[in-house]
Each structure stands twice: as structure tokens, then as C-alpha cells.
């Protein structure tokens, strides 16, 4: 187990290096002048521009810049944004909010997605099954920002059930609706995935054996079938965390949440390279760790899979 984790951590290093380099190269090519608009209604004095460019290593060629950045990154320093605020500080605040949002989205996914999938799977071909299949297909085909804006409109503005926007405290109640919107497409995918696996596993020999030896249907389905059907679902949730963090950009924009997504979007607009690379690097690292965690979870779900 320990060996496996160490190997996985080592494998992460080239991925992080490659991904940050890609992002860095793209940000390096971002058009526009980062000092534009920093000195009010007139162009910045040349001395200031020179100092600014020197401070942020903007005069070096791409590889040298990237090297210097990596040097700092290795010491846990994400650099300072073009506004002079350490990126780490900016992210620490916002990561809590986006983290809450993403975790609540995962909770929606597992609760509703798996429940609907199991229900459809054990009632295959019945009304509830068709209802789940059709409704999930509908949810998948509607873009998330349409779902978000419409739910905000009807549940938030018209009926007043949920707060329309999220304050900087980002309380549980305020995040209920946004996290549901963020999770909506994934809920649909998970319901379908769970259903498909349930249907397949219910036909398996070990379920027939379990019933034949006198187990109740509840125990045969709940313990044996469900546990075996969940492995691909857990994999999906792990991969989906990346999509959730990316998708948060859209949700945070609709509900005015002060999270990582909004910060990233603003930083791209402000040509703030250091902030963009730092944010994306953090996202990629979180994503990779989430996947490692999922792989370790396999062992818990299925003792046949071991990491030794």
C-alpha cells in the first residue's frame, strides 16, 4: 500500500510539470499589456513598466521564466499576482468556498445519482426506469448555464425558496442551489452508470447464488450487487472532480460566488499570468490527488483489488 502511494506520487510529478508548462506557455502568449490601466487614464511611466517587468521576470524567454517559476513553486511559493497580493493568500480564501461548492456537488451526485440509478436498475423496464432514463437524457442535453439561470429565476427570484446570489460567507443554505446546478449533469451520468451496472450485476451468478442460499432480496441487492456496481461509479466521481472544478467557473458566475472560478476568470481578463498559472496548478494538483484517493477507495469497495 505504502509503496503504491509513493509510486503514484512520483508519477504525478511529470504530469504536474507538463500541465503547468502548458498553462504557462499559453499564459505567456496572452495578448495585451499587463501594465495597461494600472496608472489611471494615462500610460504608465517607462521606469515603472521596466521595474514591473523586471519584478515579474517578463523580459526573460519562456523557458527561463518557467524555470524561475518552478523554483519558487518547489518551495511552495505560488508567486505574487500583478496586484502585489500573494496568490496563495488569494486562493486560500477562495478555495474554501469552491471546495464547499464542489463537495456539496459530489454529495448531490452520490445521493440522488446513485439512488435514482439503483431504483431504475432494480425496476428495469418499469415506469420508474423509463422516467430516470428520459429525465437524465434531458438534463444531459441542456447546457448547465441554462439550467442554472432558469432555476435561479424560478426557485430563487419567482418563488423565493433559495437565495438568488451567494454572499462572501457562502453558507450551506446559500450553496444548496448552486451546488445542485453544478452537479446536475453529473447526477444524470451517475444515475445512468449506476443503472447500467446494476442491471448487469443483477444477472450475475453470485447474485443468483446469494438468493438461492436464502438471503433476502434486500440483502442480495443492497450488499452484494450494489457494492460491486459502485466501482465504476466511484471512478467516475474521481474523474468528475476535475470537471466540477472547471464547471465551477460557470456556476460561480451565475450565482456570483466568490470562488476560484471567478478569480481565474478575472485574472485571465487582467492578463495576470502568475495568478492564472497558480490557480490552475492548484486545480490540477487537487484533481490528481482526488484520483489517487479514488484508486485507494477501490480496495475498500472490492477486497479483490489490492495495491501491493
Amino acid at each position: 500500500m505504502g509503496k503504491y502511494i509513493v509510486r503514484r506520487l512520483l508519477q504525478m510529478i511529470p504530469v504536474i510539470l507538463g500541465a503547468t508548462f502548458l498553462i504557462y506557455a499559453m499564459v505567456f502568449a496572452l495578448p495585451g499589456d499587463p501594465t495597461a490601466g494600472k496608472c489611471g487614464e494615462r500610460p504608465c511611466p517607462p521606469a515603472y513598466v521596466a521595474k514591473f517587468r523586471e519584478e515579474h521576470n517578463l523580459n526573460d524567454p519562456l523557458l527561463v521564466q518557467y524555470g524561475k517559476y518552478l523554483g519558487k513553486l518547489a518551495q511552495g511559493d505560488l508567486g505574487t499576482s500583478f496586484y502585489g497580493i500573494p496568490v496563495k493568500e488569494e486562493l486560500a480564501k477562495r478555495y474554501v468556498t469552491t471546495g464547499k461548492l464542489a463537495l456539496m456537488a459530489v454529495a448531490w451526485e452520490t445521493l440522488i445519482g446513485i439512488f435514482a440509478g439503483v431504483l431504475a436498475g432494480i425496476r428495469k423496464g418499469k415506469f420508474i426506469d423509463n422516467l430516470v432514463l428520459v429525465s437524465t437524457l434531458l438534463v444531459i442535453s441542456i447546457p448547465v448555464f441554462v439550467i442554472g439561470a432558469t432555476l435561479q429565476m424560478f426557485l430563487g427570484v419567482r418563488m423565493g425558496l433559495f437565495p438568488v446570489t451567494v454572499s462572501s460567507q457562502a453558507t450551506f443554505y446559500e450553496l444548496l442551489l448552486p451546488s445542485f446546478v453544478l452537479a446536475s449533469a453529473s447526477v444524470a451520468y451517475i444515475a445512468r452508470l449506476t443503472r447500467a451496472n446494476m442491471v448487469e450485476n443483477l444477472r450475475a451468478d453470485y447474485v443468483r447464488t446469494a438468493i438461492a442460499k436464502g438471503l433476502t432480496r434486500r440483502r442480495a441487492v443492497g450488499l452484494h450487487t450494489l457494492r460491486n456496481s459502485l466501482i465504476p461509479v466511484v471512478t467516475y466521481i474521481g474523474v468528475d472532480i476535475g470537471a466540477l472544478l472547471g464547471g465551477a467557473i460557470v456556476t460561480e458566475r451565475i450565482f456570483n460566488i466568490q470562488g476560484v472560478g471567478g478569480f481565474l476568470f478575472r485574472s485571465i481578463g487582467a492578463r495576470d499570468g502568475v495568478a492564472v498559472v497558480g490557480t490552475v496548478t492548484a486545480l490540477v494538483v487537487v484533481y490528481l490527488f482526488a484520483n489517487l484517493l479514488v484508486d485507494l477507495l477501490y480496495g475498500v469497495l472490492d477486497p479483490r483489488i489490492s495495491h501491493d
Binding site: V15, P31, P143, D240, I249, V250, I268, L283, L288
Partner: protein, 309 residues
Amino acid sequence: MTEATTIAVGQETHVAEASEGGARSLASDAWRQLKKNPIFWVSVVLIAIFVLMAAVPQLFTSTDPTEAVLKDARMRPNADAWFGRDIQGYDIYARTIYGARASILVGVFTTLGTVILGSALGIIAGFSGGWADTLVSRITDIFLAIPLLLGGILFMATFPNNADSPYIVVVLKVVLALTILGWPSLTRLMRSSVMQVKPNDYVQAARALGASPWRIIRSHILPNAMAPVIVVATINLGVYISVEATLSFLGIGLTPPAISWGVSISDALVALRTTPHILLFPSLFLSLTVLAFIMLGDAVRDAFDPKTR
């Protein structure tokens, strides 16, 4: 794009009738299966309509989509403007018809790009193994670590559109962004598919007979390893159309004056509180297109999957 690989739906297809003698190939078997599936025909008809809409919008409407009648802005649907008018006074019906082109172009070109790039690299990795496999797999890992939407936003911010960028350039930029980020999932799929086909006897036999690697790939490996890639690519086509709309919603995908469903939806959100019909029609068309491609992919998957027979 693991989403696509997991839209596992069991549209239970019926047991194939006993063959009327003679050997049948996998493809012809799948086709017989498909022909009987009503979902397949529904999605094919829908897709045909949307492709026709994209190719010759004049067939559907004679109204100019760039003609803004400001005094009639936000008008509800009526006999003159079937879907009403949006906040700029554009005819929503005409805008929706003309908007199909951008979505279809982005979807089709991105799918072509990812399939060509993804399967080429997947075949190289799966067929040759060794250091080529390691190299391709590690590069795939790197690209997979960057979420599609995030990378798309960065790419589009790096190469922004001007008001006078030609239409096709604007579209191709989105295509390029989505292709660069979309190929790795297909590479993975193709690689594992090729690795499954490679040890088969007919491949070994071809090699023993002295066939060149190129010939083995072209006439033995590719036809037998292509099915999962085709299925996922079809579903992805819908997903890409949806992502294009999302980028346009964020203001960095297609940008006005380009006409697209994403741009229309983005504009309509401003007016959602008072005139929701502006949002309804472009979203409806967009969703129907995405739906059609997902259903087509599902139907093709079921046809190729012997387990559902």
C-alpha cells in the same frame, strides 16, 4: 470526455433473428440491429434536419437574421415573427435557424479532429508498445489533467476574437481549442481497443504471412478496433456543441457578430426575468441537437455490443 464513455444506457434491443444463412460481418450485423431501433431513426431524422439547416438556412426562412427592428424588441411570438424578437429586435426564428451552422460546424470539425488525432496516437501507442506507448501515455496524462472547460477558456483568452475576424476563423479557433483538449480520451480508448485486437489469431496470421505493419493496421486492426471510438465520438459531438455554447456564454467562444445558439442564449439570459421566450427557442434547438447525437451514439453502441442482443 469520460462523460461520453459512461452514458451507458441499456436501450434493450431485441434478440436478433436467426441469420438466413451465410456469414455476416460485425458491421452488417450491427446495421441489421440498428435498422430495427426506432431511437436510431428519430435521431437520424433530427440530425438530418439540423445539418440541412446548417447547410442551407435559406430553405427554412427568408428573413434576414441580421436585421434588427429595435421598436419591436422583446416582442412575444406572433404571426409575423414566429418565435418573437430578442432584445436587439432580431427575429428569433431566423437567428435560431442560422445559428445551427456554428454549432454543427464546431461539433463536426472537433469530432473529426479528435478522432483523427486521437486514434492515430492511440494506434501508435497500442500497436507498437514500448517507448512510443510510454511517451504517448504520459502526454495523454498531462492533457487529461487539464479540465476541458478550463483549457478552453485559457486557449480562447490567448487567441481572442476581434469584431472583424472572419466567421470561419472564429469557428476554427473554437474547434482547435476543443480538439487540443479533447483528443486524449479517444487516444486512451483507441489504445486499449487496439491492445485487445492485437493478440488475435488473424493478426498473428497476417504477420506470419509477411504483411507490413501498415497493412495489418489498415485492414485488420482498424476495422476491429474502431467501434468504441465511433460510439464515443458520436456522443462527444453533442458534448462539444454544449461546450461551445458554454464558452460563448462566458463571452469568449463565438462572439458577435457571429450567429450561434450559444451567443443567442447568452444574450437572452439578460432578459430572462421579463421575456423568457427569448431563451426558450435557441436552448430548445441546442438541446435537441445534443440529444440527437447522444441518442445516435447510444443506438450505435447497443448495435455493436453483443451483450445487449
